[in-house]
Structure formats: C-alpha cells, structure tokens
Symmetry: C2
Amino acid sequence: MAEPANSTNGTIRNPVRLSPMQVPKASDVLANDLRERILRGEFAEGTALPPERELVVQTGMSRTTVREALRILEVQGLVRVKTGRAGGAFVQHPGEESVAESVDLMIRGRKIRIPALLETREAIEPACARLAAHARTEEDLDRLEVANDDIVAAPDLEAFLQANIDWHVGVATASHNELLTGFMLALSRAIYVSTRNTQFVDAEVRATTVRAHRSVTAAIRAQDPNAAVRRMTRHVHTYAEAVLKVEERTDVDVQDG
Amino acid sequence: MAEPANSTNGTIRNPVRLSPMQVPKASDVLANDLRERILRGEFAEGTALPPERELVVQTGMSRTTVREALRILEVQGLVRVKTGRAGGAFVQHPGEESVAESVDLMIRGRKIRIPALLETREAIEPACARLAAHARTEEDLDRLEVANDDIVAAPDLEAFLQANIDWHVGVATASHNELLTGFMLALSRAIYVSTRNTQFVDAEVRATTVRAHRSVTAAIRAQDPNAAVRRMTRHVHTYAEAVLKVEERTDVDVQDG
DNA sequence: CTGGTACTTTAGGTACGACCAAATTTGTGG
DNA sequence: CCACAAATTTGGTCGTACCTAAAGTACCAG
C-alpha cells in the first residue's frame, strides 16, 4: 500500500496529511491589505501612500509586484496615481463615477438593450423623485432649473441629451442618496448613447419633456413626495414609450430595407 | 519679445505651435484597445487572448506593460486569468458580481450607513417585485420557495441572514433585469454585514419575515404586480423600521455606556 | 532685486532578462 | 493499459537599468 511506514529507529515518517492549498498571488495580498486599510479609513483621503521603492523595502516584494498591487487599487478607484516629483499613489474613496463605470461595462458587455435600460429607469427614478422631495436643498433646485433651461436652449440633439442627463442625474443628486445617484448616473449615460442616433427628438418631444420636468421639479420644490412620484412615473413612462415606438419602426425599416 | 524670428537665409524658424498634449500610458493604450474589442464582441466569451509573450511580439511592448494591461482588464472583470499550460487570459463579460463588487467598495469607502442602505432598498425592491410579477418563471418561484424554507430551517442568525439574502436576490433575479439584480446583490450583502451584529432577530421577527415573504411570493406567482409592489413595500418598510429602532436603542446604550 | 534658465532630485513608466510555479501533455516503464 | 515521471507551456515574481514627468534649487543676466 501507499501508506508510509515508520522506520525501525523510531523516526516517524509521514504522519502529516495536507489538503491542497491555494497560494494567493503576492500582488493580491498587498492589494487586499492596502484596500482594507483604505476602506477602514486608516489613511485620510488625499494622503499619499509610500513611494513604490519604499513599499518595496517595507514589504520585501519586488517593484513589479508592488506596482501591480497599486494598479489594482487604481482601477478599483481606491487610489489615484500621479507622476513626477511629489507624485505617488493618493488615497481616495470610490464614489459615483466608479460605480457608473462598472455599470457601463456590464451594460456594454452584456449587450443590455434600450428596453431594459428604460425599464430600469422606470423602476428606480420615481423613487429618486420621492426621496428628492424630502431631501432637496435650494442648491439642488437651482441645478434642476439650470439643466431644464439648458434643454430649452439646446441647439442640437447632442446638447439636448446632455442637458437631459444633467436634469435626471440632478434629481438623483437631490435625493442625497449616493447609491442611487451613482446608479442613475450610469443609467442616464447608457440611455444617452443608445438614444444618440435616433431621430425622434423633434420640437414637440422637447416641449413635452420640458413641461414634464417643470412639473416634477415643482413637486420636488413643494416637497410633495406623492406628486413627485406620480409625475416622474408618468414622465419616464411616456418617454420610454416614445423611444420604443421609434425603435420598433426603425426595426421594421431595417427589415424592409 | 519671445516670438521666434525667421533668419535671413530664408529658413523658417518656429512656425509650428503645439498645445500641451497628454501622453497616455502604454499599458492603458493596450488595455483600452483590448477592452473595446471585447465589449464589441470581437472575441467570443471564453476564448483565450494570446499568451503574454505572444502579445509582446505582436505589440512591440515589454512584458511588464502587457501584464499591466491584462491586470487592468482582469480587475474590470473583462478577462479571467488562469495559470499553467492551457492557461491564459480568457474573455468574459462583466456581470452582476462585478457591479456588486464596485458598489461594495463605494458603500465601505464612503461609509454609507444602514439607514441609507435600507432607504435604497425601499426605493428599488418594490420595483423589482413588480417586474418579477410580470417576468417570473417556475424556476424563479422554486428558488424563492427554497430560500424561504431555508429561513424557516435556519439554525442561527448567520444562516437566517444568508437565506434572507437569497430570497431578496431571488426576487431581483425573477425580474430578469440584470442591472437591478446586480444592484440588489450588492445591497443585500451590504445590509447583511451591517445587520450581522445586531441582536434583534428573534423568533417573532423571523416568523413575521417568513409570512411577509410568502405573501409577496404568492403575489409574484399570481402575476399580480400591484399586490407584489404593495406587499413588498410594506415588508421592506417594516423590516427597516425594526432595524432602525434597534439601531437607535443601541446608540443610546452606547451613549449611556 | 528680479526673472529666467539650467541643473538636480524625486517619483512613476518601460524594458529586458532570468527564474519560479502551476497545469497540461507527452513519454515511458511496469 | 495504466501509473508515474519528464517535458512543455503559460502565468507569477524578481532585479536592474534607464526613460520621463514634475518639482525644487542654484545661478547668472539684467
């Protein structure tokens, strides 16, 4: 049998049994350690981590490994790396932008279509409006007014859609809920790029949009949650139906052509 | 003046004006190129990118640079790297897990508290329930039943909370909306870790939870969107209030201590 | 004293080259 | 035919050298 036998001199041969063990990568170990410390708040935001060569002597790892760890943290939005003297890896805490980027990758990679994007917006934006009606500040209201004025003054489709993003993200911002804001940011951008090439935004659509925005803004200003929800629900639903109708027609056109 | 003058022999000295230009990092250039191709669907999911040393000869970059680019893509969830022969960087499209991780970093980094987490859940989970009532399959319903049975059979708080996650994520899954699913996944996990240390989950809370889940599940099964929304709204609100009440009392205790 | 230019210093970015570790494939002896 | 050993492929780590960016410093001309 394969079982180890003990020798006659009293030496015990192989009593120890080991289960297969996973050896984590050195760069991951460093990255995990630094990440936990950053998230724990051990370093104030904006402070610089030690220089790469310093981390090398502190950790005993090679510079390659140290750099890979820092790159991981950079991609995760936990540090921002600057070059040159007085450069280095500066601590920051990931926020809306970071989440938005990740959501963007998922949308593009999974080829999530406009219908699903609009459906998602219909799902969460009314809730944003409700919270905004509770938490909005004067500053929030100003932002909404500015964005809506930009829509009125928009010279072309590009400007219209950009101002549209600003307004919708503005509502999320007014909710003072960072999670929802990050999510809406990604969602609005995705809807923007998916709508960029459609031709359905005529003068009437723009006028309707502006009216709806004003109506929702008024409810938020009046701190009337129910009205805000109702009007926002109606607005995003109407918008979605309009987009889908055009989409459908475009599909038919494509099939005919 | 500092303006360059032309010499007398007809040579033109410095007619060219250059604006400050940003030199992107080589590793970013490679990463961006590969990322766009992956998102464009140029490589089927699961296919392997060329080996690092092969990319070196193809791009003319050093292996260090190539590896950094691959690490970026790995962190973004666009490739999965395996070691050993027949290993390499395998293409994948980022999904729920990737978004959940990013949201987790934001929650921990920004120190988002339980009240905000519960508020966010109250904002989006009713919408998940509505969509689930429309899109649920028999398989989805099975998952919900299993999760709820697990709650009943849970021997300790840990198991209860885990099964609770499963049920809530199950509702999101039943909505067949990948974006909402990813978001709810992150949210549920965050609420889990924030609730892990509280003592408020007694037998009564568990019984109430199970009843509420059954009620929501029934509405989803019956494809009754309005009932699903109403019951889910009530459930998450009740749960939130219970958690917050305990939180508050704990705070008081801390102050008294 | 002022201002600019050139040098120095500090930090990240890139390039090689060598070797280690893991996983698969292949070879070989029983 | 099977089990075990060796070769092969591919990522992981290390060390060194050198380049580039940015900030500070010294110094010289006006």
